[in-house]
Symmetry: D2
Subunit: 324 residues, 4 copies
């Protein structure tokens, strides 16, 4: 069957509650508002709940912001501040600790290039602390970063590169940024998910096959993800559901017609999807036309948020001066 | 209603014959094969036929090639040679005549950047003929090119820029390259349409609002187009049709259910499409993931074909030497 | 002989006064300070003075700013404001008038790509005024822009493209941006020259062969130029002069040795330069290593200055919102 | 003093023999010709000779090719074949062994981006051998690659990244590509040095501070370097020498004047250089104007050579098919 799964915990939970008309045991959901920005914390408390939702146990904080954000500098800064706050809740470390920021994804595929674009805007300080410690304030935390590329480019599993580097330079925290796949167009480029559970092999734009988490790396891993595409199969699937739902609502319950519509199963749907997307099926992405500009904006928002969270003794102005 | 129209004459004709079970009067279709490559000439002979298909009277030659072409240098060269042949049929001019090659589209939007990418690879000679005529063989034709950008970038209608330049430098032929929208995924990045009718305001990736043709410019205009995207609305529309067709084939003719399925009209479909694509509707493109690499390959194929067609006294090797 | 000439009026004037120990008749020089920024106005009042300096009669306003500007957002904004002020002195036009911004230079050669990079950041409004006048405030001035490319890319003289477009769309003012060559390393990327005399064929990074000025275009032309390279021949020439001056100062006046040093003429120097730069001579540029980042910063500074000068009813924040 | 040193063994040797009028003991030089291409092998046999030349003991093979190579596809292929041959002499490994190709340098600084550009064109197979061994011929060797970035981008010493990765994936050979600094303009972009001694901290375009060699990594390291810049200080230095030599040749031996010229020492020269290059001194690069295009050509030449050397069972055509 063609997967229409999601990388977002909040979508997995919404699908569960919609289908089962109740919250899943072991899941706690809290919502906050910061002006136009909505912050939803999904806490998966039990392994069973995690299994049900297809996500490891842990905290998933989703930041939803309005579409116009990417067209307004002040709104971008507001989202950066929320990213800073959310990260600061999850990350708590003394000044001398080192952070490694990892930009996952393929820089040659625009919707997958978010991670590498974020690392370009990270305030890198680790080498300065080592090479010219006198030039840099004691309160500045050592930060380093890498964009390891994807398997098809390097021939090396992304997780292997990160694991080897972590073993060598021993950071105290790893922050990974990745482009995700969403179930819903309305989340595309408007949602940032921050979690303390690391990265699982997934339905993202690219395909990482190794887990990148505290268990595999031996240090705390915070993952920041943004859904930047919806797979075309998802669009086709949703269209089928909408058509069937529309017809079912017109049909009389219990009649042949109603039963037939009800009986269209996953296999049939999957065959319809294959037919409509042939010959590309798995490789088709649905993206808004201005994807280049929007990815650039997202990279700025996230990098600013990370910079502020890692360097609590500097404000955005100080960081900008340092960066330019 | 949401348009699911096509920029390809062959698709418009196929839709007509499928619906009407016959060829449209005033349309002649001829097919050739060149190895794996299929060449279809659609000649629209009457204005009435043109009106019916939504395309101006003229010749539309469609080159279809297999998917693996972009991954094999020799196959790419073979398509270039077909482009050369087809262009040479439409363009017939003595050596001293000047060609202007125009790359339409937005260089910042990957699937719309085909035109500008082609112009980068055109063998430009007009200035050499003027500045150092002794350095260049008499048999080399004067060629110049421009990528005028799109309205949102320049604030100037593309047609205005081209018209002003044509009035000034008076080329004998204009060759335009543009990225198109297709009705069918199977044509995306595998079809080149070459026509002698110029460019009409269209359903392409970008939106040109002025005609660029012999009537508007005063010189012959050859248009080369490649469908590089399918709009998401088309995918949704096709999915709906497939679902309905599937159900209709199972229903009993004349029964309530059958009639209901038959009665789903354009308005209802349009509303379903809007619902599934909300909030992006008009701006969503469906592209294969490796769109960057494929557009680069298409640009090489087309530029090589144009270079050979304009410079019949040079072979591909001479041109490559000149270009590097 | 190898030319070591300059595109900057202030350097031409400085060379004259240094050599002749006096100001040239018909030249007026005024200096102002705006914090760290120095503004020097060189007015060439007579054709004779213009001929002597190799520059047409008119106003040349030079803005010199410190090196760290490119590494500090606030300093960049301050230079933008000075660009705004200087432009506003030279340009004086009612709201309904149209401006055409022209980015000269080759986008494929980093130090020559300043012009095209500026046009990317210009607030383009002309099409909005035409297509959806109700969506845009009456006080917004119509602005359009183009980067015509260079002769080697298009096969068309840059001046021809601009002339044809100006004839067609009839702007009320043309603002050209170009990368220049400097005599002195200390000016590279730290000086902006704004003049009301247009662009002359020059010693710049690229080579335009046609004048782009009020006489040729029929509308007022303001030229904004930044020296982004020094030619290697200039470095070699200066080194020779320094060596000779050093030896002369040690030699005894009138002696053989002194006379010999004094007699090293232009021809000999030119041969030395050729020898040291062989085999590249004319094509060697000297640039700082971070030229990519600095050109980006210069493009922002100048685009912001132009946007504010053209749209006096909007402040930088309004313009940024519009642009994003 | 300002360094005018070289990364090329052949230049270091040439400087020694010029100054001492004899070959250095422990150094063997052999020359071959392959059409237009000159291949010079400098073997440094003793540690003393290595110390004298500032290069570790080992083999340094220099490939010199004519300027027009970058403008002619066939000539490019010929140089690739020589690179293949030279590499094959130095590298000798059975089919099952893994190669790691490392692209050193900063992708944001054009003349320093050669290494990363080469890795983009390497035929990467290691993951295929692991993930779908049935899809790939047994005779294909496993190859992986990485461009680690530079210290200022990652905050991590390049050598640390490579060391950690080598420890993890245990390749049998490491091939490093790097942009070098030359003493002579005539070598810029026309010389490829291949050595079995690895990379030393150097005078290159970037600055690596750790050795990358068999001793530090524990596996054989082959280094491929191309001089892509000359530092401006070198140009100034050479100009001074030329001027002094010219004057000395005119002066009468033993006279005051002659003695004075002879007595201009390194300190004086260094001060002259500082004066002429102020305020940029160390950061100025001299590059030909078409540096972007030439670096692209060099990357193709080298990547083709590496691909053929690593995969002796495939010819260039097979590799191109695989790559596209």
């Amino acid at each position: 069957m063609i997967s229409v799964r999601t990388d977002l915990a909040i979508e997995a939970r919404d699908m569960y509650t919609k289908e089962n008309k109740r919250e899943l045991d072991g899941v706690i959901v809290e919502e906050e508002k910061e002006g136009d920005i909505k912050i939803t914390t999904v806490t998966i408390e039990s392994d069973e709940a995690g299994k049900e939702l297809g996500k490891p146990k842990g905290n998933y904080i989703t930041i939803d912001f309005p579409e116009f954000t990417h067209y307004d500098g002040e709104s971008m800064d507001n989202v950066s501040k929320v990213v800073d706050n959310v990260l600061s809740r999850l990350v708590n470390m003394p000044e001398e600790k080192t952070a490694l920021v990892v930009g996952l994804g393929n820089w040659n595929v625009t919707p997958d290039s978010l991670g590498p674009k974020v690392t370009e805007k990270i305030m890198v300080t680790r080498h300065l602390k080592q090479v010219m410690p006198e030039a840099i304030d004691d309160s500045v935390r050592p930060v380093c970063c890498i964009s390891p590329g994807v398997l098809g480019i390097t021939g090396i599993e992304t997780g292997e590169i990160i694991k080897s580097l972590v073993d060598k330079i021993k950071p105290d925290i790893v922050i990974c940024i990745d482009a995700l796949g969403s179930r819903k167009l309305e989340r595309v480029n408007r949602t940032i998910q921050i979690s303390d559970t690391g990265i699982s092999p997934g339905a993202g734009v690219g395909n990482h096959r190794m887990k990148i988490n505290e268990e595999s790396l031996g240090v705390k891993v915070v993952a920041i993800g943004v859904p930047t595409v919806v797979h075309a199969a998802t669009i086709a699937n949703d269209t089928i559901d909408l058509v069937l739902d529309g017809l079912i609502s017109k049909a009389e319950k219990g009649k042949d017609f109603y039963n037939m519509l009800k009986s269209v199963d996953k296999l049939e749907k999957s065959q319809l999807i294959k037919e409509v997307l042939d010959p590309f099926v798995g490789d088709l992405m649905v993206t808004p036309k201005d994807v280049d500009a929007v990815i650039e904006s997202l990279a700025k928002i996230i990098a600013n948020g990370i910079n502020m969270a890692i360097q609590p003794n500097m404000d955005m102005e100080d960081i900008n001066k340092f960066m330019n």
